[in-house]
C-alpha cells in the first residue's frame, strides 16, 4: 500500500463519520412549529386555554413534555440508524439536554414562587443554547437566530408592556424556525 493510498483511506474513513446536521435541523423545526402554534392558539383562544387557574400552566407544561418525549425518541432512533456519535454531536446533545433541564427548572421555580410566566427566562436560556450551538457547528444562521432572540429578550426588559405570546412567536420564528428550515435544507457536502 502506497503512502497516497493510506492517506486516502484515512480521508475516506473520516468523511464517512462526519456529523449529520439534519436531525438538529428537524429538532429546531419541530420545536419552532410547536411553540409558535401553541402561542398563536393561546393568543387567539385565551378563553379555551385559561378556562381555569391552572389550565394554562397544564397547557404549557403537558404539551412541551410530550414534545420532549417525542424528540428524545426521535433522536435515539436517529442515533441508532446513523450508527455512530461524533464528539461534536455529543457536545450539541449535552447543550440541549442542559437547556431542557433549565426549562423544567424555570417552570418549577415559577410554580414555587408563584411567578406568572417564566417565558423571558426560558427564551434567554434558549437564546444562549442557540448561540452556543451555532458557534460550535459553525452555522451562522443559528448563531444569528440566537442573537436575535437574545435581542428580543433584552428589548422586552426595556419595554415590559409587550405581549409574551406574540414575543414568543417572533422570537421563536427568528431564533428556531427560520434557522431550523435553513439547517434542514442545508446540503451536507463532502
Amino acid at each position: 500500500m502506497t503512502k497516497e493510498e493510506q492517506i486516502k483511506i484515512i480521508n475516506d474513513a473520516i468523511i464517512q463519520t462526519k456529523t449529520s446536521l439534519k436531525p438538529l435541523g428537524y429538532n429546531l423545526l419541530f420545536w419552532g412549529i410547536l411553540i409558535i402554534s401553541m402561542s398563536l392558539f393561546h393568543y387567539f383562544f385565551p378563553e379555551l386555554v385559561q378556562f381555569s387557574n391552572y389550565s394554562s400552566l397544564v397547557y404549557w407544561i403537558a404539551i412541551p413534555v410530550i414534545g420532549m418525549i417525542y424528540t428524545t425518541y426521535y433522536n435515539i432512533k436517529t442515533g441508532h440508524k446513523i450508527g455512530y456519535e461524533t464528539q461534536l454531536g455529543r457536545v450539541v446533545k449535552i447543550i440541549w439536554a442542559v437547556f431542557g433541564l433549565s426549562w423544567l427548572l424555570h417552570v418549577a421555580i415559577s410554580l414555587i414562587k408563584g411567578i406568572n410566566s417564566p417565558t423571558l427566562e426560558i427564551l434567554f436560556s434558549l437564546a444562549i443554547a442557540l448561540v452556543m450551538t451555532g458557534l460550535i457547528i459553525k452555522f451562522k444562521n443559528i448563531t444569528i437566530g440566537g442573537l436575535l432572540l437574545l435581542a428580543f429578550v433584552v428589548y422586552n426588559h426595556v419595554s415590559p408592556g409587550l405581549n409574551f405570546l406574540l414575543m414568543n412567536v417572533y422570537g421563536i420564528a427568528f431564533g428556531m424556525l427560520i434557522p431550523g428550515i435553513s439547517l434542514y435544507r442545508f446540503k451536507e457536502t463532502k
Binding site: 503512502k3 493510498e5 493510506q6 475516506d12 463519520t17 441508532h80 450508527g83 464528539q87 455529543r90
Partner: protein, 89 residues
C-alpha cells in the same frame, strides 16, 4: 511505522473512530467494506493492543457492539500520521 496500522482495515477502523465518541459494528462494517468475521478479528487485534475499547450491549433485543478509540490509540494514530506525512515530503 506502526505495523498494526499498516493493515488497511485496521487503519480504516482507527480513522473512523477518531472524531466519534462511539461507533457501532454495522457502521464500521460499512466503512471498512469487510466481512463480519474479518472485522471481528481486526477489532480484537486493536482491542488487545489497547488501541480501542469495545462494549457489548442489547439494542431492541439484538446484540450491539460499540467501539471507541482509547488515548493510546489516538496517540499511535497521530504518530503514524506524522511519519506518513514526513515520508511523503
Amino acid at each position: 511505522m506502526d505495523k498494526l496500522l499498516l493493515n488497511p482495515i485496521r487503519l480504516k477502523i482507527i480513522s473512523s473512530l477518531l472524531g466519534v465518541s462511539s461507533c457501532d459494528f454495522n457502521h464500521l462494517q460499512k466503512v471498512t467494506e469487510s466481512s463480519k468475521g474479518n472485522l471481528s478479528v481486526q477489532l480484537k487485534k486493536l482491542e488487545e493492543s489497547n488501541y480501542i475499547s469495545i462494549s457489548k450491549s442489547f439494542k431492541n433485543n439484538y446484540p450491539n457492539t460499540s467501539c471507541s478509540i482509547t488515548k493510546l490509540g489516538s496517540k499511535r494514530f497521530e504518530e503514524f500520521f506524522k511519519s506518513l506525512m514526513s515520508l511523503r515530503k
